[in-house]
């Protein structure tokens, strides 16, 4: 049980990375006021993910829960009112970003719940399991990264930035028409 908890510990942070990447990609193709809003949301998600990974825990859980809930409500409103279509924000990637944000919100909620139940015994368990949990954490990190990449990659491809991506190895600026198959380059 402790190994599983250790393995899953980094997943909210990885989900925040996924949300940040997809939101940034959506911002690149968005119009009007949507673009700065998505840039701010994307940078905030990436920043939160980095800081939380560094801290080794869900940081500012109350504020995180409020902001994540507000973001989810805002995204639902943007899609339901037709604002997403008017500002060239694809609903598919937005849905993928919302999945990542739900993971972050859940982790913040669990962290808040845990604070009220946390005992000295749990802290002692964490210290005892320190070395063993490093392996579990590492395996969890690899599995989490694969899951995030599996959801983020098609979501990124469905954004305007993804659709206009240049085919493999192209550097001469002859970008394909939107919708043309993309390739890869470093």
């Amino acid at each position: 049980m402790h190994a599983l908890v250790a393995a899953l510990r980094s997943w909210p942070m990885l989900a925040a990375f996924g949300a940040g990447l997809v939101l940034a990609a959506l911002a690149a193709g968005a119009g009007g006021a949507m673009q700065p809003a998505l840039v701010v949301a994307g940078v905030a998600a990436l920043g939160w993910g980095g800081l939380a990974l560094r801290a080794g825990r869900v940081i500012a859980p109350s504020a995180t829960l409020v902001v994540a809930a507000a973001a989810l409500v805002g995204m639902a409103a943007v899609v339901s009112t037709g604002a997403a279509e008017r500002t060239d924000v694809a609903p598919g990637p937005l849905a993928a970003a919302s999945v990542f944000i739900v993971v972050v919100a859940l982790s913040a909620g669990l962290e808040l719940r845990g604070r009220t139940r946390r005992s000295a015994r749990a802290a002692a368990d964490r210290r005892r399991d320190g070395a063993a949990s490093d392996t579990a954490r590492l395996l969890g990190l690899v599995a989490g990264a694969a899951l995030v990449a599996a959801l983020a990659t098609p979501a990124l491809a469905a954004t305007e930035a993804g659709e206009t991506a240049v085919p493999h190895g192209t550097h001469d600026g002859d970008a394909p028409a939107p919708g043309a198959p993309g390739g890869h380059e470093h």
Partner: protein, 135 residues
């Protein structure tokens, strides 16, 4: 080595990237250095010679960092991981321009994204200040 997640990840990823870079040259004979159509590595990953060189350089940096010390491994992991993610984000805003370096929805991009997250994650989340393994 076994006590340092950063060294383990840097060494494994470095060896894999080096291997991928070397194997890449086996399937890119006759392919232009930055050709738009490369050879298929393992039948899935499209590569060209430029791609192979990038894989070799990244693999060498990671492997050297992993062999030298935990501090070096952590630094290389963070640099390569952050560079990959930053390159992707900057690429979103360059799509459709001459400076576009982005292309998505391919098997290799999936692996690059996963690699970037693992490398950055292990660098930020393991062996934080004062806990870097020296063994």
């Amino acid at each position: 080595m076994r006590n340092s997640p950063n060294r383990i990840v840097a060494t494994i990823f470095g060896a894999v990237y080096l291997l991928v870079g070397l194997l890449g040259f086996a399937v890119t004979g006759g392919v232009g250095f930055i050709a738009t159509e490369g050879g298929l590595l393992l039948g899935v990953f499209e590569v060209n010679p430029l791609h192979n060189v990038a894989h070799l350089l990244i693999g060498a940096a990671l492997l050297i960092g992993g062999i030298v010390s935990a501090t070096a491994a952590k630094a290389v992991n963070a640099t390569v991981g952050a560079a990959y993610l930053l390159l992707g984000i900057v690429g979103f805003f360059l799509a459709g321009t001459a400076a576009n370096i982005l292309a998505l929805n391919t098997a290799d991009h999936f692996l690059h994204l996963a690699s970037a997250i693992v490398l950055l994650g292990v660098a930020l989340g393991f062996e934080r200040s004062g806990r870097v393994a020296t063994a």
